[in-house]
């Protein structure tokens, strides 16, 4: 087969592929939103896509590739969000000899402290970049720690028990943050110093490429990871736990690895999210937003394919945004009855999950089943062996 | 009574049976033997619409059974005794019998259960014990009784002798022969204990890798030394003719 024909074939595959069609739909919707709503909507969609792609890719690693029923994704996201809300600002406050103890998170002090830190950050791009990197490292570390802690009891549990336990842990962490003032202010949101302050009004224009860069790095890392021997272990565990352990796989270890790596990435997503919003409200870190939506994104895109995950996040984020923007135009009849059309977001979430399960069990862009060695290489190896003998 | 024609069946995408045709004559004991994995259980599961039928015909008294829901088959007079899990372990023996006769009325079921305890006296002793506490042989008796509860025209028996002590297995086999002889029930039996089954059976099919390798008189299969030793592990030829008679006698004595 000539290389030219090969490329033409590949190109045809892409054109006919579901991924391409989905991208087209996304592009059309984005264009529609741009012309009717303007740049700010597009920017906010893109930022959300970047953040939730990161979180959903981490979920995909654990649920899609390793087969762990991760119903507590929010726990790791909370770890990242709380860590970024609590630690980097305190470090800055320490070096600026401002109060950095328990009082840092109290509402009266925090509201005065953070603008001072922001002023310093806005003065130096090097410091801002350093601060951003510090946030990412701290978030990742906190996530890895929480992931490891969760993996300890989780190893003993099976399928649904595991899922429910992780869900409960996620909820519990939210309540801890809501009640324990000194982490992120309890019921009063704590502000997060802004490493993008230096760009002033163009803040969002910079956040988009920055976040996308981070998301792409994670995407590449995860794609390499799932093709590595470790990634193969993950999939072995997913496909058949019993035969994986019979093949000599240390299930406890592999599961822990998946949980820790996944939690680390999800926490980075959580950290970026609070940097973007500029504050951490513990009560806002719900399992609805950070566990169930990512599950819907993943299921719509494709369980076990990160390209699918990305497209799923994109499509659903656009639809969510459209409900918010056009609620009075499209759903006026609800408003007339005194009903807030924003609740349709839940309906959308539930309906997407149901429709995907009933009609698209493998998602829009299904995972390609690739043999570990392509068939032609296997044939080559066999023929070589035969030649030798 | 039951005709299977050109049946292709399996589970999901896995095909187990290939162009299989068998004929179960009325009032007879048809035995299906063959090595492990030949598709014997799958044959029964396809009749009961538990396995997936890809193509072919299954006719019961002239009507097609394909696509018929499992619980409706019981109403048509087909009783199925699975190999594993053939009693409800959590239910009492009495409840097991009543469940087996689910489509009977209360009075009918009571009478029928009473009859069963007469046929299988061992069940009477344990009538209020949960079936999970019965021994292997008693469970098998209960399973057969549960099959009979339905007043079946056709009984499908799946490897009744599995993991029973030889002497108990022998008794179970005799009960099967007695069902045919005394109750006149048509029986399609899949059996690992090939020699004994072929001795009491009328018609036999040898299944290998999802295809029929032999069909004909049950006794005659025992005289095919090559097939017997290759697929059934039977080395020694049995005596001729008298085997069936002796079973019937033993059966009546054992009562």
């Amino acid at each position: 087969m000539s290389t030219h024909g090969h490329f033409a074939e590949k190109f045809k595959d892409i054109l006919l592929g579901r991924a391409f069609h989905m991208s087209l739909i996304i592009f059309v919707l984005l264009a529609f939103l741009y012309f009717s709503g303007g740049t700010s909507i597009i920017l906010s969609i893109l930022i959300q896509v970047a953040v939730f792609s990161i979180i959903t890719m981490s979920l995909n690693l654990e649920a899609g590739y390793t087969g762990i029923p991760q119903f507590g994704r929010v726990a790791a996201v909370i770890a990242g969000a709380f860590a970024v809300g609590a630690i980097p600002g305190r470090i800055m406050a320490f070096f600026m000899s401002l109060p950095y103890g328990a009082e840092y998170a109290s509402d009266t002090v925090n509201v005065k402290l953070v603008p001072q830190i922001n002023a310093v950050l806005a003065g130096s791009w090097l410091l801002s970049l350093g601060f951003l990197l510090m946030c990412i490292v701290i978030a990742g570390a906190a996530g890895a720690l929480v992931g490891w802690l969760i993996s300890r009891p989780a190893i003993r549990l099976k399928e649904a028990y595991l899922g429910i336990s992780m869900l409960a842990i996620g909820d519990f962490l939210m309540w801890v943050g809501h009640n324990w003032n000194i982490i992120v202010g309890g019921s009063v949101p704590v502000y997060v110093p802004d490493p993008f302050r230096i760009f002033g009004a163009a803040r969002f224009n910079v956040i988009v490429p920055a976040f996308f860069l981070i998301a792409i790095i994670i995407f590449i890392y995860l794609n390499r990871l799932v093709k590595s021997p470790l990634g193969r272990n993950f999939r072995m565990l997913r496909d058949n736990e019993l035969s994986a352990s019979a093949a000599g796989l240390d299930i406890v270890k592999v599961r822990t690895q998946s949980l820790v790596i996944g939690a680390c990435i999800a926490a980075i997503g959580g950290g970026l999210y609070v940097i973007y919003t500029g504050s951490v409200a513990a009560i806002g870190m719900t399992r609805l937003t950070f566990t169930f939506w990512p599950w819907a994104y993943m299921m719509l895109g494709a369980i076990g394919s990160n390209v699918g995950v990305f497209l799923g996040v994109f499509l659903l984020t656009i639809l969510r945004t459209m409900i918010i923007i056009y609620r009075s135009q499209w759903f006026g009849f609800l408003q007339a009855a005194g009903i807030d059309p924003l609740w349709l977001e839940y309906t959308l979430l539930g309906a997407v999950i149901i429709i995907v399960i009933l009609f698209l069990p493998y998602g829009l862009v299904p995972e390609k089943v690739r043999p570990m060695l392509p068939a032609n290489r296997v044939k080559k190896v066999i023929s070589q062996k035969q030649m030798q003998t | 009574m039951l005709t299977v024609r050109k049946l292709n069946a399996g589970y999901g995408k896995l095909q187990v049976l290939y162009d299989l045709s068998i004929e179960v004559p009325a009032k007879g004991l048809t035995v299906v033997v063959g090595p492990n994995g030949a598709g014997k259980t799958t044959l029964l599961c396809s009749i009961m619409n538990i396995a997936k039928v890809f193509s072919g015909e299954i006719l019961f008294e002239g009507n097609s059974l394909i696509g018929e829901l499992t619980h409706n088959l019981a109403q048509k007079g087909i009783a199925y005794v699975p190999q594993m899990g053939n009693v409800f372990a959590g239910l009492s023996v009495m409840d097991n019998l009543h469940m087996a006769g689910y489509m009977l009325s209360k009075a009918e079921a009571d009478a029928k259960a009473e009859q069963m305890t007469e046929i299988f006296p061992v069940l009477k002793k344990f009538i209020h014990r949960s079936a999970g506490t019965l021994s292997g042989g008693e469970r098998r008796m209960l399973a057969i009784a549960m099959g009979l509860m339905k007043n079946p025209k056709l009984m499908l028996l799946d490897e009744l002798s599995t993991d029973l002590a030889p002497i108990i297995a022998e008794r179970v086999m005799m009960e099967v022969a007695r069902m045919r002889d005394e109750l006149g029930i048509t029986i399609l039996m899949v059996e690992q204990m090939a020699k004994r089954a072929l001795e009491i059976g009328d018609t036999a099919y040898l299944l290998v890798s999802g295809q029929v390798k032999y069909s004909g008189q049950a006794n005659s299969l025992l005289h095919e030394p090559e097939l017997c030793s290759m697929y059934l592990g039977i080395k020694q030829l049995p005596g001729q003719g008298e085997t069936k008679l002796s079973v019937a006698e033993e059966g009546s004595e054992g009562n």
Partner: protein, 317 residues
């Protein structure tokens, strides 16, 4: 009765029903029903709508809550669960499907709350149901009535499952669907009845719980981890275990909060959810199969005559 105890009894009775509902459905259909959260909230709103619009006592609307819960169960069965069961979907898929249903119900509940606010000028987003209760023996009547109703339901269920033909058929199908099908039992109908019973129990449980806590549209969503904790504590093997597990979780939450807040101060209240979860975790570490893994419980179960949920669910092929 001290206030924590009366509230605890009310709340625990509700949690027992919801945990029992989860367990029943799990052993019957392998489905972990997330929608119990919204079903419980729907039960509460049914009763609330009754007392707020038509007056009377909450108790007289309980049958209506049962009915509404059963209907939400039937819808979920026909629309979602049955096609998936036929397809022999994985446990996780079944669980996710009920999550989708739960979110749709949640959105409807929220819209209904908006509707009540605007049309009837009610305040359905923070409801204190105990205001509609009456006094009995110097205490809230609910503290006596609700545990009695819960025990009554348990007894009716027990009689249904052991003495009626269809109840025994349900146990038979749950234990061995293949054999039950071959015996002429229509498993479809068994699953439908499981959804009806568990939907009704979930809705009634929600109506119970609202008598002790503040009724909100997200009430079920916030308490679902505890309902699951109850079911898991009960071992997911028998419906009696589930009901007991829910009761234990509910009562320890109130007792624990009371005891700890006396010792450490009121700040403990914020972490109340941690107490039952801690108990669940501790139990699972000692008895990985929950309460029904405790030998004593097994003995009790066998004394009670027959278990729901058999030893084997294997399908021979």
């Amino acid at each position: 009765m001290p206030p924590w105890m009366s509230s605890g009894l009310i709340y625990a009775s509700g949690l027992a029903l919801t945990a029992g509902s989860i367990t029943l459905l799990y052993i019957a259909t392998r489905t972990f029903n997330f929608a119990v959260a919204s079903m419980a909230t729907i039960g509460f709103y049914t009763v609330y709508t009754g007392v707020a619009l038509y007056g009377g006592l909450p108790y007289q609307y309980f049958p209506l809550a049962l009915l509404v819960g059963a209907i939400t169960g039937v819808i979920c069965y026909y629309g979602l669960n049955r096609p998936l069961l036929r397809r022999q979907a994985a446990e996780i898929t079944l669980m996710m499907s009920t999550l989708g249903y739960d979110l749709v119900l949640l959105s409807l509940i929220q819209m209904y709350a908006d509707f009540l606010t605007n049309t009837y000028k009610l305040f359905p987003r923070r409801v204190t149901m105990s205001l509609y209760d009456f006094e009995l023996f110097g205490d809230r009547a609910a503290a006596f009535i609700l545990p009695v109703i819960a025990i009554g339901i348990l007894m009716i269920l027990h009689i249904f499952l052991t003495k009626t033909k269809f109840g025994v058929a349900m146990r038979a199908t749950i234990e061995n669907p293949v054999l039950a099908g071959a015996s002429g039992i229509n498993s479809d109908r068994v699953y439908l009845v499981s959804w009806i019973i568990s939907g009704g129990m979930a809705a009634l449980g929600g109506a119970f719980m609202a008598m002790a806590m503040t009724g909100t549209p997200v009430m079920g969503m916030y308490t679902i981890p505890l309902m699951f904790a109850g079911a898991i504590l009960g071992g997911l093997g028998s419906i009696y275990g589930g009901i007991l597990g829910g009761f234990v979780i509910g009562l320890t939450e109130y007792a624990g909060v009371f005891l700890l807040s006396q010792k450490f101060g009121a700040w403990v209240l914020g972490y109340r959810m941690g107490i039952p979860l801690f108990i669940m975790a501790a139990t699972l570490l000692i008895f990985p199969r929950g309460l029904s893994g405790i030998p004593l419980f097994k003995i009790l179960k066998s004394l009670a005559g027959g278990s729901l949920g058999g030893e084997k669910r294997g399908v021979s092929a």
